[in-house]
Symmetry: C2
Subunit: 318 residues, 2 copies
Amino acid sequence: MNPFAQRPADSVSALGETRLIATIRRWLAGVSPPSPRGIGDDCAVLPANFRRQLITTDPVIYGRHFDDTVPPRAVGAKLLKRNLSDLAAMGARPTAAVISLALDPRVKTRWLEQFYRGLAAAARQFSVSIVGGDVAQSDGFLGAFLTLCGEAAGPRVVLRTGARAGDWIYVTGRLGGSRLGHHWRFIPRLAEGEWLARRGEVRAMMDLSDGLAKDLPALTPAGTEPAIDETAVPVSAAARTLARRTAQSPLFHAFCDGEDYELVFAVARRADRAAFERAWHQRFSPTRLSCIGRFVPAGKRPANTTNLATYHGYEHLC
Amino acid sequence: MNPFAQRPADSVSALGETRLIATIRRWLAGVSPPSPRGIGDDCAVLPANFRRQLITTDPVIYGRHFDDTVPPRAVGAKLLKRNLSDLAAMGARPTAAVISLALDPRVKTRWLEQFYRGLAAAARQFSVSIVGGDVAQSDGFLGAFLTLCGEAAGPRVVLRTGARAGDWIYVTGRLGGSRLGHHWRFIPRLAEGEWLARRGEVRAMMDLSDGLAKDLPALTPAGTEPAIDETAVPVSAAARTLARRTAQSPLFHAFCDGEDYELVFAVARRADRAAFERAWHQRFSPTRLSCIGRFVPAGKRPANTTNLATYHGYEHLC
């Protein structure tokens, strides 16, 4: 659905700000606790929390993170899911979110309703409270900026740093399908991230948002380089379909397209990988788990492995 | 300063995303703790906190909250101060913030540097850590969306609800000067808000962001209306200057212009107001404190008082 109304009567400007905010609260009913724990005061008041707190922020912007082909409910869900993926990547679970909207006055009220209902449905599914927000006018621009709070789900959070030379590189799911719909259809790997954080052999973890080629350096220990076995990379069927159109290889899309929202993590070199993989498949049987390579001392990459530096991932500002 | 570069070499697109983010971290040095407590991982990890947590979000958008006349350092400071004012309004103090940037690639690197340095200076001044963020490309739009976390400074937070019939209405500072520069020069009333939250006679509080006429209904108890003594309203000198240009009254600007960022609060009807005001002036001597009226039973407003409903404050979507 295109977000912009032809007739002023169909637009959010016909509602006006005060009624719009009251309406948004109705759209969010069930996931928005009463004030002061939710929307309605200068700040939302959250209970004291004895666990370590986590915070992350990511937007969705019209023309960049979604277009007319993405259903508005899916846009609302994607906004939350992008942020949930960041919590998943540390083994955390969500608690509360605030959303700041930059809204062109010509946006269709119906588009916005579907957007918020999709956000609310995702918030219910993943047990997130929407506790506050802001609506600001922005002519010619439509974007929503969400900040998500969470807490450590277990005894530790998993950082991007911590991998060592010799550690194995694993990814969940399949890569490269984002541009054909995965970028909004994905399910954030919250359960998987929490499980992985409880496994001592997992030393470092992150989610794939800009493509493996651009993201993996953040996981790569100093003095090492990733040696990737191309035959082990789980290329999605969508990446193969896309490659027929783009004249790129499926592997190029798996390495370089953003928005996979899969987890990539390092498993200790001396870990019992067979036992680890067995435990994964018992818990997450339909979800693919792939060992795609390992971190080797810089300059010692075997000839039959790939240097990801020859690819590059999604660059935001060009 | 106009934010947009004439020459591509002067723009953030010449830096590219990866270098831009590294540069932003440098601009924020001193207020951005090392990862994982700050920028650099999927989420920022905050320590456990045994106080009640608060969270609020507000943006600054080019063409709406600032224009070429506002120095970029002041824009960065305003972004944080707007959010600090919301914490002040509940008697809380800040802890950490994340900032999500929607950035046209033509924005001048120099503009952005000044913006972040202004944000960093304000963060230092008010003891806020900038712990994370996001940069997204947005063609033809420049906006920054900040989410601020805080904690109760004392034994309670003060809500907007809690005033009763007969309570006195107070405001800090002077009203109506925002459009002549107060909207970015203001100092958020954090110390005042914390002090007021410790005073038992203060029953309800909020900050003035959309103008007294539009904001005060949120503080007004059901079954009452505010009876405002116009002669007691602290009209700023800037509102008088502005009124000479706009053909409105100074009082109109004091009631209707947004962005005063002063505190408005209710004092219990039976409080010792003289003692309260004396204590205020001992602590905050140069800062004006005005009792501008009281909440009276609906329909019982004295004839020499003003019905604010005849005015209306700043409406965001028009």
